[in-house]
């Protein structure tokens, strides 16, 4: 029973099939969103297909070669009889069973481990100079300020706001601008909390958090919970610095979005 499991080559073939199927599965179930940037989805999917096709061909070849070997069990194999298949007979797996099992385990984990975006713990650990929670600095030329005020910011994400703050850090230019964002709660203090999203350039290895401050105690919400926030920007002065913060009208708990990274 399951005699073919003794054939290391067939195990390798199944492993390739499994790795390819994992890439295809993650793409078709929209779960690549949790690991890599959208631009790589098609490429990842295509390479998954390549592995699946290679795996299927190998399984067929190795199974038929196994059957062939069984038929000629007591007779010598002649290259004239079997042609290039003899090369396939000569090939034996160079991988130990441990490595094969390890890769199989990792691939299996890829199917079954529940997917979660990076958490607030990593956000706190990765917070650096490229995380802007406030805007302060010299007033821009009047033309630039007017430009900011006239831009349609209805669909702005946290990352868009941060980019805007970098271009024009003058807090008063954002006064009463409507904010409509989703993010997770990264941390909180007595009277406010930070709502954060990760921005990825390639994959979550390079994920960088961007945050905005919400002027409201955390209340019944918890760190790591995803929230939808609607409100307006206001300016507060803290430690002698003017900061742009959100004055919320509505805060709602939401499920983790399909595309957790920006």
């Amino acid at each position: 029973m399951l005699k073919f499991l003794n054939n290391r080559n067939i195990l390798e073939d199944l492993l390739i099939l499994m790795l390819g199927a994992l890439l295809v599965f993650l793409k078709l179930t929209n779960q690549l969103n949790f690991y890599i940037r959208k631009d790589y989805f098609l490429f990842t999917f295509l390479m998954g297909i390549v592995l699946v096709i290679a795996g299927i061909i190998r399984v067929i070849v190795d199974l038929s070669s196994e059957a062939h070997k069984n038929i000629n069990h007591h007779s010598h194999c002649s290259c004239h009889d079997c042609g290039d298949d003899c090369h396939e007979h000569k090939h034996s797996s160079s991988f130990s069973l441990v490595i094969i099992c390890l890769i199989a385990l990792v691939a299996l984990g890829g199917f079954v481990i529940p997917r979660k975006p990076l958490s607030a713990v990593t956000a706190v650990r990765r917070t650096g100079s490229n995380t802007f929670v406030s805007g302060s600095g010299p007033r821009q030329k009047s033309g630039e300020s007017t430009l900011i005020k006239n831009i349609n910011t209805d669909k702005y994400t946290i990352a868009d706001w941060i980019r805007s703050f970098t271009l024009n850090p003058e807090p008063s230019d954002y006064l009463n601008k409507i904010v409509d964002i989703k993010g997770f709660i990264e941390s909180n203090d007595a009277d406010s909390f930070r709502v954060t999203r990760f921005v990825i350039t390639c994959c979550v290895v390079d994920a960088t958090p961007v945050s905005l401050i919400v002027d409201e105690p955390i209340g019944n919400f918890q760190v790591n919970e995803w929230v939808y926030i609607n409100g307006k920007f206001k300016v507060r002065v803290k430690n002698g610095k003017r900061e742009i913060i959100i004055n919320p009208d509505k805060i709602e708990k939401i499920n983790i979005p399909d595309d957790p990274y920006l």
């Binding site: 790795l19 890599i36 290679a54 190998r58 991988f95 100079s129």
Partner: protein
């Protein structure tokens, strides 16, 4: 606070660290695997459809010219660090010297159109010289390290015995035969090489995922002198294992915290040596070779970056 209370408070945080490490681990594998397959595809096509002579004709026989030529091969195979190793293995099997393969492996992640363009896009507005210096430093270091290894008379001694055996069995099979046989052989190479490189990647990814969940910004405290900043950024590049096609954008996040000379070190060192590439290279080169490789690359990157901090910025 009792130990139990402390444990209960810490528990969600520990759980988050573990789940984040798992996410990072899978992200590295899922991001790298397609590039490995692409590299394996290119290398398998080289193996089956291109004769050894054709490849060897492209490389001048002169030691110096051979190395400076192969450093440009990344322009022909722009497949990222993970994909380069299968190509390098195939090139060695086709007859190029291991020292030349080292030059190719070190140069190709930067000397390729995608990386040059992405570095230009990231740094053209801040410091254009970073783009030029990255390319020049990567090229020179790759050639110099390759030339040093070329002085080693027993070139086979740089390689693992297992890989030498693999090369000898591979070269038995000529680039002839029916298309059907070629396709079957192609699938075997894809299977074999993908598992080989992927299995080596597991350990590197695991270490990178564990270290990746630690704080990065706290290292800024070490940026008080150009030399320590350079070393810190090289260590970061080593553990972060970011693909060279996008590392320029990640490096942007450190501009202002670290001096530009250390940013340059990050951009030159990372694509050559990191946890992922080192674990993949271990399938082909002896540990002794890799130790020498890391030592030489580290020295040269430090010298180049310190030079930039003294005479540039």
């Amino acid at each position: 606070m009792s130990l139990v209370q402390k444990y209960c408070t810490m528990y969600p945080q520990i759980l988050s660290i573990i789940t984040d490490a798992i996410t990072i681990f899978y992200a590295i594998l899922i991001e790298a695997l397609p590039f490995i397959v692409l590299g394996v595809l290119i290398s398998s096509f080289l193996s089956i459809f291109v004769k050894d002579k054709t490849i060897l004709k492209l490389i001048p026989k002169n030691r110096f010219l051979g190395h400076i030529t192969i450093a440009f091969f990344g322009m022909l195979f722009p497949v990222c660090e993970c994909g380069n190793l299968p190509v390098a293995r195939r090139l060695i099997a086709k007859g190029i010297k291991p020292s030349q393969a080292i030059t190719f492996l070190l140069a190709a992640p930067v000397i390729n159109p995608i990386v040059i363009i992405s570095t230009y896009v990231a740094f053209s507005g801040i410091a254009k010289e970073i783009v030029i210096l990255r390319v020049v430093a990567s090229y020179l270091i790759a050639v110099v390290v390759g030339l040093v290894f070329s002085l080693y008379k027993n070139q086979g001694g740089l390689l693992k015995d297992k890989f030498i055996d693999y090369c000898s069995t591979e070269s038995e099979i000529a680039v002839v035969g029916r298309i059907k046989d070629k396709v079957i052989r192609l699938t075997r190479l894809i299977t074999n090489e993908t598992i080989n490189v992927f299995s080596a990647l597991l350990l590197g990814s695991l270490i990178a995922a564990i270290i990746g969940s630690f704080s990065r910004t706290s290292v800024a405290a070490f940026a008080h002198s150009p030399l320590t900043a350079i070393i810190v950024m090289m260590v970061l590049a080593f553990i972060m294992t970011i693909c060279s096609t996008v590392d320029a954008f990640v490096a942007l996040g450190y501009v202002g915290i670290f001096p530009l000379s250390s940013i340059l070190a990050f951009l030159v060192f990372g694509p050559m040596i990191d946890l992922r590439s080192l674990s993949i290279m271990s399938t082909t080169f002896k540990t002794k070779t890799l130790v020498m490789l890391v030592a030489m690359v580290t020295e040269l990157v430090v010298i180049f970056s310190v030079g930039y901090s003294l005479f540039g910025r």
